[in-house]
């Protein structure tokens, strides 16, 4: 587990992090969300032991980062928000170089590199120069580089930025595979829908301060005060709205302008109460076609916008 305690980081006139504390459970995919300049990259660079905090401590299990930076280099794989590639090397040479400077024995290089290329689906590009790879391929190669010494923790700074939808889906699948391999992944991104689908936990950061953290469901509940329902009925939309308005756990019931049979409502309660709502609609013979909480991605976006209101996200 990673434990961050009262972290402060000051660059000359800018306070990048302020009294920042967070606990990141082992094996989680932890999303750091925040507008530009919120302090996400600074936090990742401190976790990678690339910069020291002004005050505060970071613990990896029982080890304090500033006391054992060499241990962090073994435990952490860092992928910054830029490619950082040597264009004149081939894919294999690039990974072999990083295997070498991570002190992996030479006889293991070939096996390690082959496994990584297979994992990131770049085996067919093994002898291509890095400069000839597409953006998505370079991103996957950089992920393979971060994995070259088999770290326990992966720090990924904006890994999906600039990727096309297919490359994003592939990256998401890859991260799930890595989570299945037991890695703890800390990821910063602006793409909230992706974060909601990918992450088990999120922390929203603004102005160097932690605004809220926890698992995605918890965070959206805490900020929005409950779940949002999206109900589609075949007909009798107006009756459904009337019925829902009479129920205690439901508030803010609205039918969309385009389609009166598509209803949105705020719901506060547990799953049993949710079942009661559905049962009541069925009992009144309203033909419900779909009945589902709104996607956490959309909710997370709303949560993000509400907690970072007034700050630039450009």
């Amino acid at each position: 587990m990673i434990k961050i305690e009262h972290l402060n980081k000051r660059y000359r006139t800018v306070q990048a992090l302020q009294d920042f504390s967070l606990e990141i459970p082992r094996g989680s995919i932890y999303g750091l969300i925040g507008p530009n300049g919120a302090g996400k990259t600074t936090l990742l660079r401190i976790l990678a032991a690339l910069i020291s905090p002004t005050t505060g401590k970071v613990w990896f299990d029982d080890e304090e980062v500033s006391m054992v930076p060499a241990l962090i280099q073994r435990k952490v794989g860092y992928m910054p928000d830029f490619f950082g590639v040597y264009p004149d090397l081939t894919t294999v040479e690039y990974l072999e170089f990083y295997a070498g400077i991570h002190n992996i024995p030479r006889q293991k290089h070939t096996g390690t590199v082959n496994d990584l290329l297979e994992l990131v689906d770049l085996s067919s590009k093994r002898d291509e120069l890095v400069e000839t790879l597409s953006r998505g391929m370079k991103q996957r190669l950089c992920l393979a580089r971060a994995l070259v010494h088999d770290p326990e923790v992966l720090l990924l700074d904006e890994p999906a930025s600039g990727l096309d939808p297919r490359a994003r889906v592939e990256l998401r699948e890859l991260l799930r595979t890595l989570q299945g391999m037991g890695k703890t992944i800390i990821i910063s991104s602006h793409i909230l829908l992706e974060m909601a689908e990918m992450c088990s936990d999120v922390a929203i950061i603004q102005g160097g301060k932690l605004v809220v953290s926890g698992d995605v469901e918890q965070v959206t509940h805490r900020i929005s005060g409950g779940r949002q329902l999206e109900i589609r009925v075949l007909e009798r939309g107006a009756d459904a709205v009337t019925a829902l308005k009479r129920m205690g756990a439901i508030s803010n019931v609205t039918a969309t302008e385009e389609n009166e049979n598509l209803i949105q409502a705020d719901f506060s309660g547990d799953d049993r109460a949710l079942h009661t709502v559905l049962a009541e609609l069925i009992k009144q013979d309203i033909p419900v076609v779909s009945f589902a909480p709104r996607s956490s991605g959309g909710l997370l976006e709303e949560v993000f916008m509400s907690v970072t209101e007034g700050s630039s996200t450009s």
Partner: protein
């Protein structure tokens, strides 16, 4: 292990660049052309003249080679570290298990390998001198030592500049300025201040103290017929210029290498402060009742 990985990568990248091949070709063409022009202006090659021609050709090629080394070496090393920062690969090196020693040594050896390759590539041209005679193998070895030491000092200084300065252009300019000042300032001072180089009692020509670490005088002292040149060292002693040059160059290289190791890792000033705090305890304020 990490050093070998870095060196392999550096050599691969450098030798793959088309520029490397062109540098060698142009270098040898310049040297060869100057040698050809010199030989084509000679009137005849008979008797004692032959060895004089050999000696003069050797002097010409040596001076040109020294100037070319001072001109080309900074190009190989002055952007070694800040070039990584510009390419955004520096952080990735810091995240690895590469030590400061391996990082500096790997970059320096790779840069110097290119400079030494030029010296090695010019050996066949120099061998032409032995056809005419007039140069002993010992003089040739001494000259080569001056070449190697010059490449090492210029390479290490340029690497130090690249650890100290973030902008590659600035570190390159500073490296060239160092070369010019290092090579020419003692000569300019001698001319401007009209300092004489009097002969000593044993028929030697003694150069003043600023020439103790000067690559041009060191080279000249290894050339045929220049064994009478000495330089004033400390306490009235005199030293052979190329020997004094070699010793001081080794010391300067060691100092620059250690400084580069310190500056190549992040936050050198902060680390110096914490080191100072560790070894120099703060003064205890006395509290009087």
């Amino acid at each position: 292990m990490t050093f070998a990985a870095l060196l392999t990568k550096e050599l691969r990248l450098r030798l793959r660049r088309e520029r490397s091949i062109w540098v060698i070709i142009i270098y040898l063409l310049v040297m060869g052309l100057l040698g050809f022009l010199f030989l084509s202006r000679q009137n005849g090659y008979s008797g004692d003249v032959l060895s004089q021609v050999g000696g003069q050709l050797y002097i010409l090629l040596s001076v040109v080679q020294l100037l070319l080394i001072m001109f080309i070496t900074p190009a190989f090393t002055s952007t070694s570290i800040n070039g990584e920062k510009e390419r955004q690969t520096y952080d990735l090196l810091l995240c690895s298990r590469l030590s400061a020693f391996s990082l500096v040594a790997g970059k320096l050896v790779a840069g110097l390998a290119n400079a030494l390759l030029l010296i090695a590539a010019s050996i066949p041209l120099f061998s032409l001198v032995f056809f005419f005679g007039g140069v002993s193998p010992q003089e040739f070895a001494e000259t080569t030592l001056v070449f190697v030491m010059t490449a090492v000092v210029v390479g290490t200084f340029s690497l130090f500049c690249s650890t100290l300065l973030n902008r590659p252009q600035v570190s390159t300019v500073l490296s060239y300025m160092f070369c010019i000042i290092w090579a020419l300032v003692p000569w300019l001072l001698t001319l401007l201040l009209a300092i004489s180089t009097p002969a000593t009692g044993s028929g030697q020509t003694a150069f003043p103290f600023p020439f103790l670490w000067n690559p041009i005088l060191a080279l000249v002292s290894t050339l045929p017929g220049q064994s009478q040149l000495v330089v004033r060292a400390v306490a009235g002693h005199v030293a052979t210029p190329w020997k004094a040059y070699t010793i001081i160059s080794l010391i300067a290289t060691a100092i620059l290498f250690l400084l580069s190791m310190w500056f190549v890792k992040p936050n050198p000033v902060g680390r110096l402060r914490s080191l100072t705090r560790r070894f120099v305890p703060r003064k205890q304020s006395t509290v009087t009742a």
